[in-house]
């Protein structure tokens, strides 16, 4: 049986506000290997509060990998070293006793830092507002399965629909590009008959908004796919490009 409790050295990004210069600060924490990464930060914060210091601000909500709130770069990797998981699902058993862990916020000019590890991701909301939806007349609900969609197609669209909008793709991209996020939504809707009528306007408008927000260009490093907690494929980006070209014909 491995050690149940480990001592860790933490280097945590502390920044008072959006315009203030931040820095990495050193902390030490003792934590159960069964704890999650966010629980480890909770323990650190309790300790800081007891000492009368300001706790570390970080975003979290569901803590079960579906809400897309948690957003930490752990040892240089968005959501940490474990593939296909958000950082809330990362457990301390993956770290060694005495290890140093560096924790930084998402870094992109389109995601300005609010405080410490919290960034403003409303740029994503504006990309979605630009066209990542289906316009329908509200009223009585239509019958289930009134539009038949093949299983393969439904599965394919669903793979792209699993995006939780966490922004890890932007955080990990060497260019801070939002192509995977934008491409996933465009591809999901383009594959389904419900998304078909608005597909041309959608892709042009969302791609334009992505650029307006100040995200970088995609260089096909594929780092986004590697850190995506949902493992969304960069085929979404290729499809976005096809959709973009087709939208002009």
């Amino acid at each position: 049986m491995s050690k149940e409790t480990i001592r860790l050295k933490l280097k945590v990004w502390r920044q008072e506000g959006p315009k203030v210069k931040g820095e990495l600060k050193n902390y030490e924490v003792e934590i159960s290997t069964h704890a999650s990464f966010l629980e480890m930060l909770d323990v650190l914060n309790e300790d800081l509060i007891h000492k009368g210091e300001r706790p570390v601000e970080f975003e979290h909500d569901c803590r079960e990998g579906i809400c897309g709130s948690c957003s930490l770069v752990v040892n240089g990797m968005a959501h940490g070293p474990q593939a296909n998981t958000a950082v809330c699902q990362l457990h301390m058993r993956h770290f060694k006793d005495g290890e140093t862990i560096t924790i930084e916020p998402w870094r992109a000019s389109a995601f300005p830092i609010v405080k410490d590890l919290v960034v403003d991701r409303s740029a994503f909301d504006r990309i979605i507002s630009a066209g990542g939806f289906i316009s329908v007349n509200t009223g009585s609900a239509t019958d289930a399965n009134s539009i038949l969609i093949g299983k393969d197609l439904a599965d394919h669209a669903f793979d792209y629909a699993t995006c939780i909008g966490c922004g890890a793709c932007v955080a990990a991209c060497p260019n801070a590009s939002a192509s995977l996020f934008t491409g996933a939504k465009i591809s999901q809707l383009a594959l389904l008959p419900q998304g078909d009528p608005e597909r041309k306007r959608r892709v042009q408008s969302m791609v334009n908004q992505m650029d307006v927000e100040g995200f970088g260009d995609c260089s096909n490093h594929g780092e986004c796919e590697a850190v995506c907690p949902k493992g969304i494929s960069i085929s979404a980006i290729a499809m976005m490009r096809r959709e973009y070209v087709k939208s002009y014909f």
Binding site: G76, A108, A130, P174, M210, D211, H221, S235, A238
Partner: protein, 232 residues
């Protein structure tokens, strides 16, 4: 900080258009490089007439050759400009870099090749200028004129190339730059297809591997020539 929704991007050219341009022009130049290499392999025929006849044939195309050259230069310019714009945009999109950054590996295609495109590309651009001045325009040294079997006058480019690559600076300089070309194509070939929207999950691993093979073959093909000449 917050941008109003539905504002127009400043340049009117979106990132996707830049990638389409970069991918298309990159593919054209890769095809050109393969054709160029096929021609250069005539240098292995030691009597030289094959290479000189090939050179003379290209020049005899006249207007067609000039047209092709104009397009190549145009495409190269577009390729370089889009690459520089991506690089500049990246610095703007992340002004403060991570104190610690590492690739998450597994499905990531991030590599020395992908991260050094701007460096290898810049070196290749400078190289191309020197290369064209040397071997196309013979600026640094005039070429001898010979008479071909059909009586036509042509430059003795075979002798010219052999003399140039007996110079260690040229021989090893070219070898080094062609290794960089291999690195550029290692990321460039598959990336261009991805930029043009041609990648699908089913074929991606195969295309990624083929991209590597094309890069290696082109690089080894080109760099073997100066080394062969220098050491023979």
């Amino acid at each position: 900080m917050s941008n109003p929704a539905n504002a127009k991007s400043k340049s009117g050219v979106t990132g996707i258009v830049r990638k389409l341009i970069s991918g298309f022009t990159g593919i054209i130049w890769t095809i050109f490089a393969i054709g160029h290499l096929a021609g250069n392999l005539q240098l292995y025929k030691t009597d030289g007439t094959a290479f000189n006849q090939y050179g003379h044939f290209l020049e005899s195309l006249g207007g067609l050759l000039i047209l092709a050259e104009i397009f190549l230069v145009l495409f190269l310019g577009m390729h370089a400009i889009s690459g520089i714009q991506v690089w500049l945009g990246k610095r703007k999109a992340r002004p403060e870099s991570y104190k610690l950054y590492q690739s998450a590996g597994s499905k990531s295609k991030q590599s020395l090749a992908s991260r050094s495109m701007i460096v290898t590309g810049s070196v290749l651009l400078l190289f191309l200028v020197v290369h064209v001045l040397s071997f196309k325009f013979n600026i640094f040294k005039p070429a001898d004129v010979i008479t071909l079997a059909n009586g036509a006058q042509a430059r003795d480019l075979y002798k010219y190339v052999w003399e140039a690559f007996k110079n260690p600076v040229y021989a090893f300089g070219y070898t080094f730059v062609m290794a960089l070309l291999g690195l550029h194509l290692r990321h460039g070939v598959w990336s261009a297809l991805q930029s043009l929207g041609m990648m699908k999950p089913k074929f991606s691993p195969v295309i990624y591997s083929i991209g590597g093979i094309i890069a290696a073959l082109v690089a080894v093909g080109f760099l073997s020539i100066p080394l062969y000449i220098y050491f023979s």
